[in-house]
């Protein structure tokens, strides 16, 4: 031990080598455990372990292209709803504690209650996506990688136009994975006075920048 002590800094000598090694191992275990818990709450099984998710939004999502498609690539709940970057992910995870609270309160524990709140819940996600320029869409769908010649006539026409206007994915692609809340589309008395869907304001600032 004497020979080793020559190479140890003063503070290691003070607290002892054993304590230093033990603290290091504890750090590894705690960080690993934290990450494990984070990953465990980032799985589809975790999301649909609540019947609120399983019976409403998960069922709707099963009929959509992000669940069932020819190539077998699937985007699960966290791919769209939890940011991939560490900072935003932590913020989202802390916000999610509010969702645990409402699970305990039973705020949306029946389909009727869920549908009554659908507009508010959807709006939260639309706002979040609008704010981060649809980051979770763009993790897979990069628009500078899009080959317009492979797209349908309508997509090939609308995509460049929308990007030119500074729009983001969620401006047009609402309700692609879950059912929409009531939207006023000026059809009869159906949904009259309900939410008017936004297709993205033509953000003047961005248009001017381009000029």
């Amino acid at each position: 031990m004497m020979s080793l002590q020559k190479f140890m800094p003063a503070w290691v000598k003070r607290v002892g080598l054993f304590t230093v090694v033990a603290l290091f191992l504890a750090g590894v275990i705690f960080w690993g455990g934290f990450n494990w818990a984070l990953e465990a709450t980032n799985k589809e099984e975790f999301c649909i372990s609540c019947h609120e998710m399983k019976d409403n939004v998960f069922k709707e999502y099963q009929n959509t292209i992000h669940y069932t498609n020819r190539t077998g690539v699937r985007a699960t709940c966290p791919d769209c709803h939890v940011p991939k970057e560490w900072g935003p992910k932590m913020i989202r995870k802390i916000q999610a504690s509010n969702e645990v609270w409402h699970k305990l309160l039973g705020s949306v524990d029946t389909p009727e209650k869920f549908n009554a709140k659908r507009h508010e819940l959807a709006q939260h996600e639309w706002d979040r996506m609008k704010k981060n320029d649809s980051q979770e869409c763009r993790n897979c769908h990069r628009y500078d990688y899009m080959d317009y010649t492979e797209q349908g006539n309508r997509a090939a026409k609308m995509h460049p136009k929308a990007f030119e206007e500074g729009k983001t994915c969620i401006d047009c692609h609402k309700g692609i994975a879950h059912q929409l809340p009531q939207i006023d589309q000026h059809i009869g008395k159906q949904n009259e006075g309900a939410l008017e869907i936004s297709h993205g304001d033509k953000t003047e600032a961005k248009v001017e920048e381009k000029k």
Partner: protein, 148 residues
């Protein structure tokens, strides 16, 4: 001409035999004899046609055909996906065909400010196109237009 009665007799015999045979035929469902628990065959599925330009009408006042895929486009109580592009408020921006003025009339031909609710289910008249070929030849010709 003497064997005509014989032909008629033979024909009648054939017909009655065919009648018996068809009566004994088991009606096959689209699933075939597949048990309900098994996956049904998929070899004869029709696919929607690729996006194309407007399809000309075959007769006057024909509801225009849908020249694009409508996969994943739902009409629910909350939202009508077709009207997301084809409504008069949206058509200019999206370049879609605007919903016709006739869709704003009620059954007494009174003009409404909103689309008439009886027009809610677009696919009742407007249909998308699949690669299914006609089973029999179609010789339909539209009536001549006025003044033709």
């Amino acid at each position: 001409m003497r064997f005509i009665p014989a032909l008629v007799l033979a024909g009648a015999a054939l017909l009655s035999w065919a009648g018996v045979a068809s009566a004994q035929e088991v009606v096959e469902s689209l699933r075939g004899n597949n048990p309900i628990t098994a996956t049904s065959r998929t070899d004869n599925m029709f696919r929607p046609e690729k996006d194309q330009d407007l399809i000309p009408r075959n007769f006057q006042k024909q509801p225009p055909l849908i020249p694009h895929s409508i996969k994943g486009y739902n009409i629910t109580q909350n939202f009508n996906k077709c009207m997301d592009c084809h409504s008069k408020e949206r058509a200019e921006e999206t370049g879609a065909t605007k919903v016709a003025k006739s869709h704003y009339l009620d059954r007494e031909d009174k003009k409404l400010t909103n689309i008439s609710p009886r027009r809610y289910f677009c696919l009742q008249c407007h249909v998308p196109q699949f690669d299914a070929k006609p089973l029999v030849e179609n010789t339909y010709k539209p009536a001549a237009k006025k003044g033709e």
